[in-house]
């Protein structure tokens, strides 16, 4: 019987270790997802393909819900559509009790189509058209006002509409972290937020139901949420004091980090990502320790997106070629490019072989298949000695990649959901050239007879 082959490799030994924790000895393989072999998934659904695990979504949701409901009596989650608005994914979250959090008319209508009641849709974002606002007001949705122009447009609409709009304002603020997001909503420190609230209350035309903030993204400092929650509760207390009006909810937005490692980070995301309990403790402590009386505690709404779906998503693909760069470094080309892995612009994604490999690795640059210099999935990674045709798995890609993707050079592949019984379902079919022909028009003079 012949021995197992591995391609010959020589690596120069460099003195010193890359960090104080040393190098990992072996790259583990991911051979299956939820008990289904990667090779079988690729055979059935093609390469590359996105794979989503419903079981992981449900486990993560249970974990974050437990962290908050153990500490606070009234908690409501709203699924952040922009993070992943595949209808099947949205419906999984809605089946778990999540409302919808949308940021455009397109997303708003998607939520309605997914069976979400208007009163359970939170409408965020700076771009709400007059038509979008009329629809949202008529459906009784929760409109989070982003700027004064929007506030006055809603006031205008109240002249012609019979329904009283249910509104909140988005508040931006200094929470002690950098960067401070100040492009959305009304500023707390300069008094703009208080001014907006007074205008809403004095108009008498809208029902102020809540206060909203979204302090940033991939927040590694839970205390920033405590600062934000304290500032929102201050506003709530002041409104009650001045107008004897109690707001119904405080919406803390999203922004929880995941275990993905940001580019330039010294330690891996797995070591630095705060737990859901830490976030929950910071937020709920700030609210319960405020001057709001216990019987008037508002509902706490969370629009957590990334942290709920990232772990559930995988990209599976195939090695197209191995090459040498001019300086002798290995370069490996895979069929997954930045067009379908947008988050590779800010994450050092974890990439694994789909079969067991030896301890030997090479310093490798992993490129996608695009004929474009920016198509770099990993600039430098110690990677096993894979051959053309070997399969790879990119882990933790569930957030943003299926919405922020680009149809560029190649077509977008199948997206597969593995349900909790281990059955597979295509939830978005692979694009074909016909997909694009349907939307393109050729002027008559360019059509040859």
């Amino acid at each position: 019987m012949k021995l197992k082959y591995e391609r010959p490799v020589i690596n120069k030994i460099n003195a010193g270790m890359p960090d104080k924790y040393g190098m990992k000895v072996q790259t583990k393989a991911i051979t299956e997802i939820d008990g289904l072999k990667i090779s079988n998934l690729i055979e059935k659904f093609g390469s590359p393909a996105y794979v989503l695990s419903q079981q992981t979504i449900e486990n993560t949701f249970t974990e974050v819900k437990r962290a908050f409901t153990n500490r606070y009596p009234k908690v409501q989650f709203a699924w952040s559509y922009k993070t992943n608005y595949l209808d099947a994914v949205c419906r999984v979250f809605h089946s778990l009790g999540s409302w919808a959090e949308v940021v455009s008319g397109f997303e708003y209508r998607k939520a309605l189509n997914n069976g979400v009641e208007g009163k359970h849709i939170i409408f965020n974002g700076p771009d709400k058209s007059k038509g979008d606002l009329i629809l949202a007001i008529e459906k009784g949705s929760l409109i989070h006002i982003d700027h004064f122009d929007e506030l006055y447009m809603i006031m205008e609409l109240t002249e012609v509409l019979s329904q009283r709009p249910k509104v909140a304002i988005r508040v931006n603020m200094d929470t002690g972290i950098y960067p401070q997001w100040d492009r959305f909503g009304f500023n707390y420190e300069n008094g703009e937020a208080w001014n907006a609230l007074n205008r809403i209350m004095l108009s008498g035309k809208m029902e102020l139901v809540g206060l909203h903030t979204h302090i940033g993204t991939y927040i590694l400092t839970p205390n920033a949420y405590a600062v934000a929650a304290a500032k929102l509760t201050d506003l709530a207390v002041n409104i009650n004091r001045k107008y004897n009006h109690k707001i119904k909810y405080i919406d803390m937005g999203g922004g929880f980090a995941t275990k993905n490692t940001l580019k330039g980070a010294y330690l891996s995301g797995a070591d630095t990502c705060p737990s859901f309990d830490t976030y929950a403790d910071a937020i709920t402590s700030a609210i319960v320790n405020s001057e709001i009386s216990p019987e008037d505690l508002p509902t706490l709404i969370l629009e957590t997106g990334r942290a709920l779906i990232d772990d559930a998503g995988y990209l599976i693909g195939t090695v197209l070629a191995n090459k040498r760069l001019a300086d002798g470094r290995r370069s490996t080309i895979i069929d997954i490019g930045v067009n379908m892995l947008f988050t590779s612009f800010w994450y050092e994604h974890e990439i694994y072989p789909a079969k067991e490999t030896s301890v030997h690795t090479e310093d490798t640059t992993i490129y996608g298949p695009l004929c474009m210099n920016i198509d770099v999935v990993r600039a430098a990674i110690q990677f096993p000695l894979l051959q053309k045709g070997d399969q790879v798995v990119i882990k933790r890609i569930g957030a943003y990649n299926m919405t922020q993707w680009m149809q560029f050079i190649t077509l977008r592949p199948n997206i597969v959901l593995i349900d909790t019984k281990g059955e597979t379902h295509i939830i978005r079919t692979a694009e074909t050239n016909d997909t694009f022909l349907q939307h393109e028009k050729i002027p008559d003079y360019l059509i040859k007879n």
Binding site: K4, R7, P8, V9, I10, N11, K12, S358
Partner: protein, 79 residues
């Protein structure tokens, strides 16, 4: 193609170049190939030896061998 005589290589795949002071690690198949080259075996002999011993087709090995030789030249292992 000849490997420099003063390149030392251990059984475990640790190689040392006394001219540059650089150290290298090789996987078992690479170690085997370098030792065959040191014994003045030619490419044809090495290819048939590897194909006989390991689960690999000729085309894949040829690609890998060419790539490996390129790296031996890059690290100045070759006379």
């Amino acid at each position: 193609m000849k490997i420099k005589k003063n390149i030392a290589i251990s059984q475990s795949g640790f190689a040392f170049d006394p001219n540059s002071g650089d150290s290298f690690s090789l996987n078992p198949i690479a170690t085997e190939i370098v030792n065959l080259l040191k014994d003045d075996k030619d490419e044809q002999f090495i290819t048939s030896h590897i194909l006989e011993k390991y689960e690999i087709d000729e085309f894949t090995f040829q690609r890998n061998f060419d790539d490996f030789v390129q790296m031996l030249k890059h690290y100045q292992f070759v006379e």
